[in-house]
Symmetry: C2
Subunit: 223 residues, 2 copies
DNA sequence: TGACTTTAGTCACACAAAGTGACTAATTCG
DNA sequence: CGAATTAGTCACTTTGTGTGACTAAAGTCA
């Protein structure tokens, strides 16, 4: 992967793999094969005929042994910033992985997002792009659900949203909104987590609903 | 632009230039130089050292003689679908242009989005990506304002939102939301449009405001 | 065992935001 | 002049959100 191809490839596909670790998001980095103390995002130069998405999925599988529960293109990054390869352009993909099932292969490690090592400039831009995409997709796509295992308690779901939104949420409001959206289905299972009353388990199972029939929203400040 | 380079370029930059024409969005296409009855999006293969954004801006200027009022990357498109060039990957940019100042050069023409000619498959995907980006950025970025001239009436603004959202809006609600967002500033000018009371002119001038302090929104249906 | 702590889950009320129709204002047309 | 047309505002209703207090079911510890 990291050896230089004989005819220089003009683009790469890079994966920003994200999971929730402790109370923060974490990103998967791979140790540089030549300079062992340096790190970079997992990447590859796609085979001819391979789609971009397939290349990103392969990159993720090579790192984790399994596919992310969610993949989405972040965009193309060029703009002269340096990259481990000599490619002029890199296409970045965001991949989400529940932390429970995320066992990285050797030389891959999760880094909490507040504690990342120095990265090549273009990849640093990709990480920023990934967090931005994450924020803006948060209420358009089931991001939080894809970071959780298949069954979860509503408290876990709320904590995941709190992590992603970076603020505390009120339990009653959260559950009221969740009910209105018809996104989860209760299981006939409960989980007792040490103290306190056991919590019912739920799974993500969106039912058809009428799209909220709102007017305009002006949710931007500047430009 | 459309001649095949000696060493095949591996990627192109394509521009989806959008304006509001009549009661519909329109996209700028260029007549194919070899097959005169076929059309495609404006594109170019970037010079070495040129940033992606700069390449997209040049492409737009070449077509319109001026820069779009808004540019945003849509993403990278590959996936084996055919493109006028032989590039494996194309990076698409969305560009917005107020219709008043949009005078296309020769061999460029606006096509209403419901009435597009057949396009190369990859470019068709870009157009779909552009409309999707447009929808999702609508309440995150001043899309509507960038499709209007610098000064406009509130009715024009509302009509633009109605066009973009594909539904009628109630005047009072629209203005109430607009006021709350502190996005426009009234001018000391009025415009009389034939019949009826003259309308005051406004310009886009966002003032700092507190971000609406909402909780979660679950605005998605399926995955 | 029984009081206390802890977490889950719900309720009800206050308040804010959005939908809506009816109103006033200023102009053109005949 | 009055009718028609477009701009702009108001007040009322309906819906959604923030919030604290409540009940429920478990563990802990004397």
């Amino acid at each position: 992967m990291r050896e230089r191809p004989s005819k220089t490839a003009l683009y790469t596909v890079d994966a920003v793999l994200v999971t929730a670790m402790g109370n923060e998001l974490a990103i998967l980095l791979v140790r540089n094969s030549s300079e062992r103390e340096r790190w970079s995002l997992p990447w590859r130069t796609p085979q001819t005929g391979e789609t971009l998405e397939a290349a990103a999925a392969s990159t993720a599988e090579e790192a984790l042994g399994e596919s992310p529960t969610w993949m989405e293109q972040i965009g193309a990054f060029g703009d002269g910033k340096r990259h481990p390869s000599e490619a002029e352009v890199s296409v970045a993909y965001l991949g989400l992985v529940p932390h429970e099932t995320a066992a990285p292969r050797a030389s891959y490690t999760w880094f909490q997002i507040g504690d990342l090592p120095s990265l090549p400039p273009r990849q640093r831009a990709m990480v920023e792009g990934a967090t931005k995409t994450l924020q803006s997709s948060l209420d358009q796509a089931p991001i939080a659900f894809r970071l959780l295992p298949a069954t979860f308690t509503l408290s876990e779901l709320q904590q995941m949203y709190e992590l992603l939104m970076g603020k505390r949420l009120h339990k009653a409001s959260f559950r009221r909104a969740l009910q209105a959206a018809w996104l989860v289905e209760p299981m006939d299972e409960w989980r007792s987590e040490g103290r306190g009353r056991p919590a019912q388990l739920f799974r993500y199972l969106p039912k058809k609903k009428r799209r909220p029939h709102r007017g305009v929203r002006f949710d931007f400040l500047y430009p």
